[in-house]
Symmetry: C3
Subunit: 360 residues, 3 copies
């Protein structure tokens, strides 16, 4: 994608509080400090890369206001409150180029049931299917090959990318972004074992996604057995995540890729789950609970607690155990040695010789 | 979804053996005991919620025949053999409302090859693609945007939801339900490393799904290198599961979400695998074997055995080890203390002083 | 799929160096040694199955040149340098039958933007969508229901199976195979936490897939925050893998199913990651690094190193620790016993009795 900014434009977009140095380069790229060259914008997003500022060849660098160094010749430092946020402002400009606003209207190849309601300002792209009773809100964008089932609804300004499925009776809030391959409203996984066979328990509830939710590619969210599976306002879910039936996820949570949440579990607002973490069913994770990547949560988690490992235990304990695990071979050798010495001591002492080691 | 049942209708649907109390409410919702209110149906599906029966505000409660308590005023207890199964009977009624039987026929936007065979009673929804030589059985339902490849077949009464892919030469049994995004017949992952490159081993086998199989959203099943990958009758597979090439899964198994089965592994009838479990290749899991959630199976599992952990070991041993793991910091301290005492004792004893601790 | 080879045809296809015995059977199937019958081809791909050669009923068996045994009556041994590779040559013949070369051209139901460039020799199957500015190379095959976004490109001879999504501004190399449900170019998962909400960091970079890459069903690859997420030439990725934003995967790597790579991590050429392994963000895995199945990599990995476990540690150490873990219950008992003996000895010795066990 081609673009071009002047230094002055970048200062305006990022709301820079101060500047050091100057550059005459037009900015045509964005790169990490160590990889940037002339014509690139870079930024200090994490203080552990601070040393790279002195050697970066970027023409413009976004830095925190208290940054101490001086720019090289032909280099501009823009001082901003939060360099990562400032960069996001620049990227937001680019994003509009990457994803230009679509024209409103229904593509002639889309299949829209007569009983569906589509706002005039919505965009229904090619080869979408909208079933009876579905409602598509103002400025909603179904990009291509999207399916919205009977009685489902998609809120204002939401964007459903190619191949998204929103099954019958599910609701999608406003300003929601669903990436390709997301499935909202597959059946919950429920069976009764009767006479040697797994009899299906029909799943007749739905899924509700709150406003400002974003869901990553190929993530699946199952409809409730009855009632609703729900994802609260502002929660962000990454790719390939599994959300089982009747799960309730609070507001402003973060679920990283490949997380799995089993049925009927409740997750409090502001919780954060690292990639590949798994949570058993019927549990409760408190507000702002944190779960480490790959952890297996098998018990409730207190608000604000941070757990890790399989099964998950308090984070600091798990870190300690993980280190000790590497010293297990040594520990076994030490216990062998102690036993040998004790055996020797017992032989020396007539009383000790009479004592029997308790059975292991 | 709106619905309404009278108490008498519910008694009939559930085949209630007995009743206590009565209600004049029409039932318009289903909810858990603790969340139900007037107009709701609830049930005691798990005895650990028994105490909630006394305080639930549900108008109708499904209970086992030996339940001891008495209903509140305006509350009806329906006594049924298995409250979960009884509730499933009610949900089955609702499911027909959620998913009304589709009209038979081929939607004009579907692309059906001339050499494909589609039963007259089948429903081919909008924007489906059916290739040459494919066979679609009686009353099969391809909901929308489904792909069935050349020479593949879909059995009677099966339901393929939006976005399902059944690739060439694969077979789907009768009464099978495939949720959105399921891929049946992607290539197995096989290469020969020759001259510094991974040369593809063509995967020319197929996949066979037995009758009454259900497969969750975005699950993938790879075609065999040669021969068949297979899933036995009545087996239920959850979302985002990976089934590799030449895997053979028996009848009536349960594979929870995000499980991964590596190539050529065989899984016996009635096996149960918890969520995120992984099984290495070329293994055999016996009949009714159980694998805990997140476990990593690296060796054969005996029929009926229950394994857990990474790598998986017998369940009871793993539970014990998991508890002891938390006591490792204490164990290291105890061994430190023992060594200190032994060092002291050795100094007191002239013989002991002469002994050397064996090298760690 | 039906096929038929004579023994002479198989000798020619596999480039057999020598033969023993003979068969008059036509070969109509391929099967493992233990399962093959008359009319089947089999092979010794792994020396641990060597004993099965003596009892196999296959009519033709592919064997290494130094194989010692003699064929049964009516059985032909074909001696080939690498039986697995030889079998792959046979399967390649069958693959052309399974997937006959499609006719060039754009299916009338495909939706191709006027500003897209499609090579004359390319095949655009039914219900594909190609947006403005996209480029589809010579002999590329978009099978059905594929989406290629604005400005994206697909190289010569690549094959995108039903339901693949290549989002805007991403590039796919030559001879690439993308299985159904692959998503190339979903947004990276990046937010800034501002004023109690996760503000989206727009993801304006892209994804580049090198030549001869193969990617399994429902795998997701996120576009870079800025710059490019990339997969090097010849790398093979299995099903349901997550590749986060700004990840760089080298050439000729193997990523097995359900692997997850977090953002900005770099993976060297010829690396191999076992199924369900996870790698944290901002790490570097050296050339030919190996990661065991299910391992959780939380630190850089040296070139050629093999790590395993959660968190990942050197493979041999992890194997040892995994074994010792099973002996933890015994170790705790042994330490209990030592403490009991020490307590007894201390009581016998006046000096010892005066010593205090150091506090645990």
């Amino acid at each position: 994608m081609e673009f071009e900014f002047t230094a002055a434009e970048l200062a305006a977009i990022t709301g820079a509080r101060g500047q050091r140095g100057s550059t005459s380069e037009r900015i045509r790229g964005i790169a990490a400090l160590s990889e940037a060259g002339p014509g690139d914008l870079s930024f200090l997003g994490n203080s552990r890369y601070k040393a790279e500022v002195a050697t970066t060849r970027a023409s413009v660098v976004l830095l925190p206001p208290d940054h101490a160094g001086e720019p090289a010749a032909g280099q501009l430092f823009l001082l901003v409150e939060n360099p990562s946020v400032a960069l996001a402002l620049v990227c937001a400009r680019l994003e509009r180029k990457l994803w230009p606003a679509p024209a409103a209207g229904v593509h002639p190849t889309a299949v829209v049931a007569r009983g569906a309601t589509v706002a005039d300002s919505a965009t229904i792209g090619p080869l979408c299917v909208i079933e009876d009773g579905a409602i598509i809100g103002e400025r909603a964008h179904l990009q291509a090959q999207v399916f919205v089932g009977r009685g489902a609804s998609v809120g204002e300004d939401s964007w459903l990318m190619p191949g998204v499925v929103v099954a019958a009776d599910c609701t999608v809030g406003r300003r929601v972004r669903l990436h390709s391959g997301v499935v909202v409203g597959s059946d919950g996984f429920g069976y009764e074992f009767v006479a040697g066979r797994h009899q299906k328990v029909p799943q007749v509830g739905g899924v509700d996604l709150g406003d400002d939710v974003e869901i990553g590619a190929n993530t699946t969210l199952d409809r409730a057995r009855f009632g609703r599976t729900s994802v609260g306002e502002g929660t962000k879910i990454d790719n390939l995540v599994q959300v089982a039936h009747n799960v309730r996820i609070g507001k402003h949570c973060i679920l990283c890729a490949q997380v799995g949440i089993s049925g009927s579990t409740t997750i409090g607002d502001y919780a954060v789950l690292g990639g590949q973490a798994g949570v058993a069913g019927h549990l409760s994770l408190g507000k702002a609970a944190k779960v480490g990547g790959g952890a297996a949560v098998t018990a409730d988690v207190e608000p604000g607690a941070f757990v890790n490992g399989s099964p998950a235990i308090p984070y600091m304990l798990e870190r300690r155990v993980a280190v000790l695990r590497e010293r297990l071979p040594d520990l076994f050798r030490r216990v062998d040695a102690l036993e040998e010495v004790i055996d020797g001591l017992k032989k020396l002492s007539p009383e000790g010789a009479g004592r029997k080691m308790p059975p292991a």
